[in-house]
């Protein structure tokens, strides 16, 4: 091998050592990334964990990018080969057969083999650690609670009223699809809202029908209408809305045949009142069930003062702090005691008692007289004047030496005077 080839070989070996070292170092770090990705993939993608190893693909490139900054030139490789007498360097720069130079040896590599071991162990642990016991994370479809809530609402509707089978079937199909959905996508969430609104609309219609029946029954109780007529009118409203599931069987049967009958059979006032109570009970039970399924808002859920659960009621509650001690509010403080403004306490009044000031006096110039006039030199305190002059005069430096020099200033003074040494 010629000298130049040997130098090239040494240079390549140094480059290889730098590259291998960086590869192992980067690999050590990349394996930790791979381990973390394996864990994440096993949690969310279950079996599809193999993409976690993709970061290893960039390892050769990243190692090369860093290692290339540590590659050395031919001159450095030659200097490494030179034994100190300069023969190798001279032979490369000025080849001369009269002077021969030979080079032996190659740099020994010390590669950081231990670097990837912790990362590899972490990857192995990432496969071993059981992830099935980990709690399910978000993004796994529509939550079960939401689906159960929709099912409860549908069940409440079916308990309270006769719903068209096609409509029930459509809602059930939607709920089933949502239950099987693999992700809580925007479309699925929209479907949840739409289904809920649809059932709330049905519940609202039932509630309105119940209110109309209640109004009719109220007219009967107040004597506005005959009870017989009021009961018939209420039953008709309930039958038209399908609000018959909570009725006693005989009344439900009567409601179903109401179209065929020409009105209800003649009843005594007691019988009519009893029937009105049964209808009212069915309406109440239906409303309670719908309220429990959160399909309608009942008065029972309102705990605002005055029973106002609308915006005005909420504003009133906020402003008054619910009237509870310590809860504050906008118009009153958090304390329990009311603020009262009255007379000052007696002790304070004494402290600030008014005092009458004496009248002002003026010089009586008319009754003054001139006793005499004299001239004298101004008296000057020489000592004090000298002190004043000293305070304003420029320092000649002597004072510096008389002062105590703080330790932290000694370096600065020493540096200043050292320049003249």
């Amino acid at each position: 091998m010629s000298l130049r080839d040997h130098v090239r070989f040494v240079r390549q070996r140094i480059a290889a050592a730098a590259y291998a070292g960086e590869f192992l170092r980067h690999g050590g770090i990349a394996l930790f990334v791979v381990g973390a990705l394996v864990l994440l993939f096993r949690l969310w993608l279950r079996e599809a964990w193999w993409p976690a190893f993709l970061p290893l693909a960039v390892l050769p490139v990243s190692a090369w990018l860093v290692a290339r900054t540590r590659f050395v030139s031919d001159a450095t490789a030659a200097a490494w080969l030179d034994a100190g007498d300069g023969r190798v360097l001279t032979a490369l720069e000025k080849p001369d057969e009269r002077w021969t130079a030979s080079a032996e040896g190659a740099p020994t590599m010390h590669l950081p083999w231990k670097w990837p071991i912790p990362g590899a162990a972490f990857v192995a642990l990432a496969f071993i650690v059981p992830v099935s016991e980990l709690p399910e994370g978000p993004g796994q479809g529509i939550p079960d609670a939401t689906v159960e809530h929709l099912e409860d609402q549908l069940e409440a509707l079916e308990e309270v009223a006769e719903i068209e089978p096609a409509q029930v079937e459509a809602i059930e199909e939607t709920i089933e699809d949502l239950d099987e959905a693999s992700e809580a996508s925007e479309a699925n969430l929209e479907a949840v809202d739409a289904t809920e609104e649809r059932m709330e609309q049905l519940a609202k219609e039932l509630d309105q029908a119940g209110e109309r029946a209640e109004d009719a029954l109220g007219n009967g109780r107040t004597g506005t209408d005959p009870m017989q007529e009021a009961v018939e009118k209420a039953l008709t409203e309930m039958a038209n809305a399908g609000l018959t599931r909570k009725l006693p069987p005989e009344l439900a049967e009567m409601a179903a045949k109401l179209d065929q009958l020409d009105g209800l059979p003649q009843m005594s006032p007691e019988e009519a009142a009893k029937m009105a109570d049964a209808l009212q009970q069915a309406i109440d039970e239906g409303r309670v069930r719908l309220e429990s399924a959160q399909l309608v808002e009942g008065e029972g859920t309102c705990d605002q003062p005055g029973g106002q659960c609308d915006g005005d009621g909420n504003a009133l509650a906020i402003a008054s702090g619910n009237g509870e001690p310590g809860e504050g509010g906008i118009t009153r403080g958090p304390g329990t005691a009311d603020l009262e403004f009255g007379d000052e306490r007696p002790d304070h009044s004494d402290q600030f008692a008014a005092t009458v000031l004496p009248p002002g006096t003026e010089l009586d110039l008319e009754h003054t007289m001139l006793l005499g006039e004299a001239f004298a030199d101004a008296e000057v305190d020489i000592t004090r004047e000298a002190d004043a002059a000293k305070a304003t005069a420029a320092s000649n430096g002597a004072d510096t030496w008389r002062r105590d020099l703080a330790p932290q200033h000694r370096d600065a003074v020493a540096t200043f005077f050292a320049a003249e040494d």
Binding site: A83, D85, K94, R98, W99
Partner: protein, 338 residues
């Protein structure tokens, strides 16, 4: 075939230098390293400042060098009342054939080898008379420039004690010395040899081992020694690292040095390394040559600040630290390579 020195040329130069070396070693016993560096400085045509206690042979070394080279030698004892004219010479009014005219009388500096003994005892004014002579190898008196004989060396001595009444050499003058060599005491074995072989301490007569022609040939050979780029870079990095503002300087330099070595130091290292390589029988300079001469060329050129002095640092110790800190390779090897 390149323009490298031939093996015959190198052998011839080496034998001449070794004869000089042998002659000086015979004259000054037990000071091989000092003698070798003095010869290196002589081949590099550099001035030398010798520092050491009295009686260690500084003056004998210089006298021996002049005698072995067969050159004109003058000694000037520097004293506080010495004047520049006492060194350079001056115009003297002479009458000849009834005419009076000024004639330049050469001072003792007009010699090939000048021993400036106890140079730090002269006033700065007198010391400065040496500046032009040492750098330009000429003397200017009353506007008239006189060339000094070639070759021309100044070998000055000073002792590190009895500093009362002395004047430290200014940095500009120190910079003109290629080496500052410290003359150490010799051991008991050498002293015994001196006692047995040197009656009254008188050294043997110095017989010239060369003449002017051979000396000039030797200088030409030194000049022809090749300096590889990597080695030149190493010398340059060494000098650069003596500056506290340099990024490559070690911490001890940044903390204790006020001024680093001048470019003249780098030039001096290169010249001395060439001479050192020829003495070793090589046509080229190597890292070893630079390492051998650099401490002596850098030490006296590094100006240590007052903190460094208080901490016990001097130019020599700082130069040693710089050599330990600066690597021969311009680029750092990867950690994976030993």
């Amino acid at each position: 075939m390149s323009d490298l020195l031939s093996p015959d040329d190198v052998r011839r130069g080496q034998s001449l230098a070794e004869a000089l070396l042998e002659g000086l070693n015979n004259r000054l016993l037990g000071q091989q390293e000092l003698v070798r560096l003095t010869v290196v400085a002589a081949l590099a045509r550099g001035h030398v400042l010798l520092e050491g206690l009295p009686g260690l042979g500084k003056t004998e070394l210089v006298k021996g060098l002049a005698g072995l080279l067969g050159l004109d030698f003058r000694r000037v004892q520097f004293t506080p009342d010495l004047l520049p004219g006492d060194i350079t010479g001056g115009q003297v009014l002479e009458e000849k054939d009834g005419l009076r005219r000024f004639v330049f009388h050469r001072g003792p500096i007009f010699a090939n080898v000048v021993l400036a003994d106890e140079i730090n005892r002269a006033s700065p004014r007198t010391q400065s008379a040496m500046l032009e002579a040492m750098q330009e190898r000429s003397v200017t008196v009353l506007g008239e420039t006189h060339d000094l004989p070639a070759p021309f060396w100044v070998l000055a001595t000073q002792n590190p004690i009895e500093l009362e009444g002395t004047f430290p050499l200014p940095e500009a003058q120190l910079d003109r010395f290629l080496f500052k060599l410290h003359v150490e005491r010799v051991g008991a074995g050498t002293l015994t040899k001196i006692l047995r072989e040197r009656r009254g301490g008188r050294p043997p007569e110095a017989t010239a081992v060369t003449d002017e022609a051979h000396l000039n040939e030797l200088f030409d050979l030194v000049d022809a020694v090749f300096l590889p780029e990597a080695v030149a870079g190493y010398a340059a990095r060494l000098v650069d690292a003596t500056h506290p503002s340099s990024a490559s300087s070690p911490e001890v330099v940044r903390a204790n040095v006020r001024y680093g070595a001048s470019p003249r130091a780098a030039i001096g290292i290169a010249e001395a390394a060439r001479a050192h390589a020829l003495l070793a029988g090589r046509p080229n300079v190597g890292f070893d040559d630079v390492r051998a001469v650099a401490p002596h060329a850098l030490g006296h050129r590094i100006v240590v600040d007052y903190r460094g002095k208080l901490d016990g640092h001097d130019g020599r110790s700082i130069a040693a630290d710089v050599l330990a800190h600066v690597g021969e390779l311009a680029e750092a090897l990867p950690d994976e390579v030993a």
